[in-house]
């Protein structure tokens, strides 16, 4: 092919033998291990101009999304910016659009996990715009649609999610995208649960835990079992709840989901408290708090300390309850978890100062946080 044919739309052909997936993944991980400020223009172009490497970088980032969303957001944003430089083209045909779409979708997913809703929408719009130019856009547009629905769920717009989610899991089913299909079913189950349709939610969680027809990954199975236990506990079936929790544990461990493991400990603690096993419940709450502290989930730590304080007050261990409240209040203030002047917070602050527990204020604040955070 004459050289002039390649000047505009035709990038140089990839002549080298493509790397195996394992080699490319190892090189992608090595690249991502270099701190962003130490990456040179040369190392960027060596890695990012190679479409094979870029694919592997996205595979690594997708894998890390639920574990370190802040890092994934920074990397995805920087990749999007790099790919968006005018006249820069990576790979062949539609690949530049595809890679830009991937980076925008990753940034959107990470922004959602970080709680930044407007930012999420902006990144999902970018992902949509890029994927529309690819040769087979339907699968990736469906993934964008999933993240949009998950965002609506976060915003408690359950009616909208309930209306749209069946069509989306039908799409994933038709496209044989098993992992996405089950994520979508899980979102549906969570929506049913939060809308109060507990029987529907139990059915959906059980279906995910069984994984009939299409394979389900361990992390999702674990999460479904946690929520199944939570619903059963709410229905008063505490023993069944504990069974579901114990089934969830190995799945979450094998999937390396520390945040979900901490959630599991908190739910086990709640069920133990409902069963009247107060000492075991307190122990489980403390373990969950310690896990959240390690994960840096400050708002969850604060909320759970208040739950623990309520249990401690119920057990007559007022002094320990005051410590938990005293430890939670600075985060509640710093993270603005309640509106300014929220009466229960002022009352609790006073109760800590006077070393005298205030169960009513504690209960009010805990209930408020339960419904808003």
């Amino acid at each position: 092919m004459p050289n002039q044919g390649r000047v505009l739309a035709f990038p140089a052909r990839h002549i080298a033998k493509p790397l195996s997936r394992a080699e490319a993944l190892a090189r992608a991980e090595a690249y991502l291990a270099i701190p962003a400020e130490k990456r040179t223009t040369l190392s960027e172009s060596t890695h990012l101009e190679d479409a094979e490497m870029l694919s592997s970088i996205f595979a690594v980032l997708r894998d890390r999304l639920n574990v370190v969303p802040a890092e994934v957001f920074a990397e995805a944003k920087s990749l999007y910016d790099w790919l968006s430089v005018p006249r820069r083209a990576v790979g062949f045909f539609d690949e530049s659009d595809y890679f830009r779409g991937e980076s925008a979708l990753l940034a959107g997913g990470a922004a959602r996990l970080l709680g930044s809703r407007e930012e999420t929408e902006r990144w999902l719009d970018r992902a949509d715009a890029c994927f529309r130019h690819t040769i087979n856009p339907a699968p990736m547009l469906a993934r964008v649609a999933y993240t949009r629905l998950a965002l609506k769920f976060d915003m408690r717009r359950y009616e909208e999610v309930a209306e749209l989610v069946p069509s989306l899991h039908l799409t994933f089913g038709k496209l044989a995208m098993a992992e996405d299909y089950w994520k979508c079913r899980f979102l549906e189950a969570m929506t049913l649960k939060d809308m109060g349709n507990l029987d529907g939610a139990v059915g959906a969680f059980e279906e995910i835990a069984c994984g009939a027809q299409l394979p389900v990954d361990d992390a999702l199975k674990g999460l479904a079992l946690i929520n199944l236990g939570n619903v059963r506990s709410g229905q008063g079936n505490h023993e069944l709840a504990l069974m579901a929790y114990s089934e969830a544990l190995p799945f979450l461990k094998s999937a390396n989901r520390p945040l979900s493991l901490a959630d599991l400990k908190a739910m086990v603690a709640e069920t133990l408290a409902l069963l009247g096993k107060v000492d075991q419940a307190i122990q489980a709450y403390r373990e969950a708090v310690a896990d959240y502290v390690l994960l840096g989930s400050t708002t969850r730590v604060a909320y759970l300390r208040l739950v623990l304080a309520e249990v401690l007050v119920g057990a007559g261990r007022h002094r320990e309850a005051e410590w938990e409240v005293a430890a939670a209040l600075p985060t509640i203030d710093a993270e603005k978890m309640v509106p300014e002047g929220f009466a229960a917070v002022a009352l609790l602050r006073e109760s800590v100062r006077q070393r005298k527990a205030n169960p009513q204020a504690l209960s009010e604040l805990r209930q408020y946080l339960q419904t808003t955070n």
Partner: protein, 132 residues
């Protein structure tokens, strides 16, 4: 694309996957060559070069979600027609190539439509394969 923790299983699965890509591409290559040379009027050497690029693209394309390797063949034809059209339009536009009526007709058509016609040939091919 999901990478299994079990490298042994993953590599063997990857080998099978890569082999399947090569088989499907080779099966479609005859049709691609006809499209490039007979319809889009690329020279033999140009067509051969473009086919190499198409294989590199198709290999990566098959790792995208939402379709099996075999289901991706129509998309391979779309990419083939799109690339051939852009290439010939570029050469015609810069005066390197003069366009006859037949070439003009095909360059005026949307690559997706041209590829759709070729996909019918693929369906016929599949029918013959299953009949054999």
């Amino acid at each position: 694309m999901e990478i299994s923790d079990d490298l042994g299983v993953s590599l063997s699965h990857e080998d099978d996957f890569e082999r399947e890509i090569e088989i499907v591409f080779r099966e479609t290559l005859g049709l691609i060559h006809i499209a490039l040379v007979s319809h889009y009027q690329l020279k033999e050497q140009e067509a051969t070069e473009l086919e190499k690029d198409l294989f590199v693209w198709f290999r990566r394309f098959c790792y995208r979600p939402g379709a099996s390797i075999r289901e991706n063949r129509p998309f391979l034809l779309v990419a083939c027609c799109q690339f051939a059209r852009e290439y010939q339009k570029y050469l015609v536009g810069t005066g390197v190539l003069s366009s006859d009526e037949k070439l003009k007709l095909i360059l005026d058509r949307e690559p997706v439509d041209v590829a759709h016609d070729f996909s019918r040939s693929l369906q016929l091919f599949d029918f013959r394969r299953s009949d054999a």
